[in-house]
């Protein structure tokens, strides 16, 4: 149900504590961390086509053709192969789609805003005729006979499917490091911004061993968008899997409201929390893609019945009627000081522009991680039961008995992380444990969801929080902890949102002192995705996050995104 009144702003009183915090933030703001704000983004690739809207106009005006666009993205995919962002590159499919799009443009009737625009899809969405692996041995070689609804909707709009992106096995992880195809490397590891800072900080020049993780589990999609190999990508978000890598890769990561976008064809992690996520280079693009994906799907009974109209985001000029909530529980000791200060700065930015910024409380936040663990593993245990080697996917050689075949197939097919979650999930679902774990976790989930309801009922329009504890860390650093610990740490700000089914978006705000992107998260009321994105768009405009400079990567790529034809096109 799409609720009315999302745009209405209700006044609410700030508590004493919040006033104190605001003062603190103000101080930080005044003392300034100029690095974070930066001068106007050094858009060196000034003639780049970065955004869907821009490229859509260029396509309509004939300044670039879908085939050219497709070939450029394909060559960039090849150039950035070492990022390991893609598991499958669907070159032939994409070129054929481009050819068809080109015909349409010549005739003057494109299918829509995405016609001829390259996109990528996380490899846990079913794609008809294209291998869909979930980065698992279990599904290696599995070619689905149907398209996920979201994939179909993009294709119906004429989007070009460049390929399937890398992830943690079955989306279980927060680093995109735990799939059978190996870890995804963060494009920012190779950016001018990061390299220069590293030189300044006189680190050893052993660069390649110090590459950064993308975050996860949709790290492949985030890297693909960040490295310009596509204009938008689908991720999935169960506990933060879209927003987390978006923050680490300096792109926009949107987790829509649960029930707004169909999950049909998304290979599930936790059905009651999974949502297809959208990764783009700007908020407007995310809104464009959401407009295409949102709406009832008869194949997914959990999607809303109400029709969803396509929308364009208004440009907010006045935020004085907005009430921004700052959840005090999100100020955890693990939060890096840099992220903390940027968070404060963002709050102050809203306040200085007239918005009401108040501290709010989400008292059950601290139970979120353990609650998530029980619910997630339980559903995982159930969802993974179908992978028995009979109908599809991996099957072991053993033919001693059906049971022996199941056991060997599942041992060979799943990695330790997946097997571990199946094991705990089955434990929680046992008759003697069900009440104590699963039912209890469901109750806690209700309390967590109610926390948000209470906050929004008190007049808050949007919550502002960090997306991640810190910027992306080097792979060597990341793997010092196991997947479970990492997931628990990294999902801390994102995963309660999934429990409550709310929309949330991570917007890149600034670069850290290391030259790495830091994103902040906005959380909106259920089914008020549009309002959420409107606020995010205003924020995006204020912070002017710099474009990643992948010059060294791009140089030999013969000005991939620069085109003589486009010299005259003025881009923002």
């Amino acid at each position: 149900m799409v609720k009315d009144g999302c745009a209405h702003v209700k006044p609410a009183a700030a508590t004493d504590l919040s006033v104190f915090l605001l003062v603190t933030w103000s101080l930080w703001w005044q003392t300034g961390h100029e690095d974070h704000v930066g001068p106007d983004p050094p858009r060196s690739e000034s003639n780049c086509l970065l955004r869907v809207q821009e490229v859509s106009v260029a396509l309509k005006q004939g300044q670039v053709t879908p085939t050219e666009l497709c070939q450029r993205c394909l060559s960039l995919i090849k150039k950035t192969k070492f990022l390991n962002a893609y598991i499958t590159v669907s070159e032939e499919v994409a070129l054929k789609q481009a050819e068809e799009a080109e015909k349409r443009y010549k005739k003057g009737h494109s299918l829509g805003d995405l016609d001829g625009i390259p996109i990528a899809v996380k490899d846990n969405f079913s794609t008809s005729g294209i291998e869909t692996t979930c980065a698992s041995n279990m599904l290696k070689g599995y070619v689905p006979p149907y398209n996920a609804t979201v994939v179909q909707k993009l294709l119906d709009q004429g989007a070009l499917l460049m390929g399937k992106t890398n992830l943690d096995e079955f989306a279980m992880g927060s680093g995109s490091t735990d799939g059978i195809f190996g870890p995804v490397k963060n494009p920012w590891s190779y950016s001018k911004q990061y390299r220069e800072k590293r030189k300044q900080n006189s680190h050893s020049e052993n660069e390649d061993s110090n590459w950064l993780i993308t975050g996860g589990s949709s790290g492949g999609s985030a890297a693909a968008v960040s490295a310009f190999t596509c204009f938008a990508a689908l991720g999935s978000d169960t506990g933060g899997s879209t927003r987390n890598p978006a923050a680490h890769c300096g792109v926009v990561g949107l987790k829509p409201s649960y029930g707004l976008v169909s999950r049909h064809g998304l290979i599930p992690l936790v059905n009651s929390m999974d949502v297809p996520g959208i990764l783009t280079r700007c908020v407007d693009d995310a809104a464009t893609v959401l407009g295409i994906l949102a709406g009832h799907d008869p194949k997914d009974s959990t999607t809303i019945q109400d029709p969803v109209k396509p929308f364009t985001l208004p440009s907010l000029t006045d935020v004085s009627k907005l009430c921004i909530g700052i959840p005090k529980e999100y100020l955890t000791p693990e939060l890096s000081s840099e992220v903390h200060s940027l968070w404060s700065k963002a709050a102050n930015l809203f306040e200085s522009e007239g918005a009401k910024v108040i501290e709010v409380s989400l008292p059950h936040t601290s139970y979120s991680i353990v609650c998530y663990h029980v619910l997630c593993t339980s559903e995982v245990a159930s969802n993974m039961a179908r992978f028995d080697g009979l109908e599809y996917g991996h099957r072991c050689d053993s033919s001693v008995s059906t049971e022996a075949m199941y056991a060997a197939t599942r041992r060979e097919g799943f990695n330790d992380v997946v097997r571990g979650r199946i094991l705990s999930g089955n434990f929680f679902l046992l008759k003697e444990n069900y009440e104590n774990y699963f039912v209890k976790a469901q109750k806690v989930r209700r309390l967590i969801a109610n926390d948000f309801v209470n906050v929004f009922n008190s007049g808050v329009d949007v919550l502002l929080t960090p997306t991640t504890l810190s910027e992306a860390v080097p792979y060597t650093e990341f793997i010092k902890e196991d997947n479970r610990t990492r997931s628990a740490q990294d999902d801390i700000f994102t995963q309660a949102v999934n429990m409550a089914g709310l929309p949330a978006v991570s917007v890149p705000m600034a670069l850290s002192t290391q030259g790495l992107p830091i994103g902040l998260q906005f959380i909106g009321r259920a089914f008020c995705d549009q309002q959420l994105l409107t606020v995010a768009k205003w924020f995006e405009k204020q912070v002017q996050f710099p474009v990643i400079q992948l010059q060294e990567l791009m140089d030999d790529c013969s000005s991939v995104f620069e085109n003589e034809k486009l010299a005259s096109v003025s881009l923002k």
């Binding site: 689905p144 999950r263 179908r386 679902l429 008759k431 009440e435």
Partner: protein, 519 residues
């Protein structure tokens, strides 16, 4: 919409035994084992995990059977419970399998409205409380013909609860001594059927056919209120009638099962709580798969299906799309006449015996056949009942045919009974005509009568002539009669009939003979 057509499917059974002291073993013991073990216990009756005979000495104790039943009736819908696959019998293996049925990753269940309607109507017919909100759960177990690794069922909150099923059993020797018994209906739940495993022992492999996987089932759980196989069979039969079955069911398996459990207990064995299926070839029940004895089904709410909400005329949300909601009251209005009511009506309307009304309903299509004949004939209902239940049903049974396969149409029988009614033919001729009808499809009774010259002699003068000559030809029989042997008249009648080639009505012959003898 027609009433839900429910096809029969093999019933699962639950048994518990109550040990009773000396005395009648036909009386039920206390309702043991009817407690469910905790909230998550499998919602079945006779829930004792196992019952052990404490003193395993043969024949020392008598055991009273307490029979509860879990009956799975396949819902006759065009498509499956959660997918759009067609439901058909005898289709080539794996030809009716959607991506969801094969549990391809990413597929989601979509509830079939018709199956819900079937469940609601069944619930209403069994006087159940229809839950305005019911839930779906996943029941996990690994089995080759269960592709998802779990079955979607209604464990926590089923669609209908607390109903009752009345059935009549005959007590004593005479079939007319009928007593009405009632068994409580614990619940009715919607669930998926599994696929079929075919074991090829020769090549030691198992073949899986998923055509059946995902077909909608109604699980009707009957409380252990029955005490023997006959009662259980009658209750199941009654339920079958209520569900307007298309097929037949061999509910007699219960007797075998009770005996097996008694033997087992007396031998000191344990009765595991298990699902057994009836093996027609072996004539005994065999364990299907080891149910909860060792299994923990790890029930979990099905997260892809929102709660199933039903409405009545009072709670129907205004402006609701009729395609999106189910109105219980509207379904109630469309309920067909239930078998019990039908039987009472037959007794009242046609003055037939209660057991005849039962017999008419017990054969699929027989009642419709009967009613068609009644509509088209002038013959007395009693006559029609007798012909349908004796002659017609007898022929069907002899050749093991269903009513729908009968070569004789209701119209043909009606015409035949009309001929009989206006004394155009004798009843023995009518039998002959019926046999002909059975053999020669396409010919009308009138044609057969004409061809075989079976019509009764309507020419009274001719009959009188024949009688006279018969009397003259058999003076010793006449003498015999006059000496006071009353049976001699029958002999004379027989002789006249023979002379008329069976075309004269014996009553008419008797009349003429008596007149001639007395004159």
């Amino acid at each position: 919409m027609a009433a839900p057509m429910l096809r029969w499917c093999c019933p699962g059974r639950r048994f518990a035994f109550a040990r009773v002291g000396c005395g009648s073993c036909h009386r039920r013991g206390p309702p043991t084992g009817s407690t469910s073990n905790g909230k998550r216990g499998q919602s079945t009756v006779a829930q004792q995990p196992h019952i052990t005979a404490q003193k395993p000495r043969k024949g020392e104790r008598e055991w009273a059977a307490v029979v509860g039943l879990e009956i799975h009736a396949q819902i006759a819908s065009n498509s499956k419970l959660f997918s759009g696959s067609q439901v058909h019998f005898a289709a080539p293996p794996n030809s009716l399998v959607s991506f969801f049925d094969a549990s391809l990753p990413g597929t989601l269940p979509v509830l079939n409205r018709r199956c819900v309607e079937a469940a609601v109507m069944t619930g209403l017919a069994l006087d159940c409380h229809i839950n305005r909100k019911s839930l779906f759960d996943r029941k996990h177990y690994f089995y080759a013909d269960l592709p998802a690794g779990y079955q979607i069922t209604q464990q926590r909150l089923p669609i209908a609860v607390n109903g009752s099923l009345a059935y009549s059993v005959s007590v004593g020797r005479k079939p007319s001594q009928m007593v009405t018994r009632t068994v409580r209906v614990k619940q009715i739940q919607l669930e998926q059927d599994s696929g079929k495993s075919l074991h090829d022992d020769l090549r030691s492999q198992t073949l899986i056919d998923l055509n059946r996987a995902g077909i909608g089932l109604l699980e009707v759980v009957l409380e252990p209120d029955m005490s023997c196989g006959e009662e259980a069979a009658t209750a199941v039969r009654e339920l079958q009638l209520i569900l307007q079955a298309l097929g037949t069911s061999q509910a007699n398996m219960a007797d075998y099962e009770i005996q097996r459990q008694i033997n087992e207990l007396e031998n000191g064995g344990e009765i595991l709580n298990e699902t057994r299926s009836f093996d027609y070839k072996l004539g005994c029940t065999v364990p299907m798969r080891d149910k909860e004895g060792k299994q923990d089904y790890r029930f979990m709410p099905e997260p892809n299906l929102p709660p199933l909400l039903l409405y009545d005329s009072g709670s129907l949300p205004p402006g609701a799309d009729p395609q999106q909601v189910i109105d219980i009251d509207r379904l109630r209005e469309r309920l067909p006449e239930l078998p019990r009511v039908t039987r009472e009506r037959l007794v009242r309307q046609y003055g037939m015996l209660p057991e005849h009304s039962c017999a008419l309903l017990n054969e699929v299509g027989l009642l419709e056949f009967f009613q068609s004949v009644i509509k088209e004939t002038r013959a007395e209902p009693k006559k029609v009942t007798s012909w349908v239940l004796n002659t017609f049903l007898g022929f069907l049974k002899q050749q093991n045919l269903a009513v729908s396969e009968s070569p004789v149409t209701p119209s043909a029988l009606a015409e035949l009974l009309d001929l009989l009614d206006r004394k155009a033919i004798s009843s023995s001729a009518a039998k002959q005509v019926f046999e002909e009808l059975w053999r020669n499809e396409g010919k009308t009774p009138a044609q057969i009568v004409a061809e075989k010259k079976l019509e009764l002699l309507q020419d009274l003068e001719a009959l009188e002539q024949l009688c006279r000559s018969t009397l003259e030809a058999h003076p010793h029989v006449v003498m015999d009669l006059k000496r006071g042997n009353p049976r001699a008249i029958n002999k004379l009648i027989g002789l006249v009939r023979k002379a008329t080639l069976g075309r004269a009505d014996p009553t008419a012959i008797k009349e003429v003979l008596e007149r001639q003898l007395s004159s």
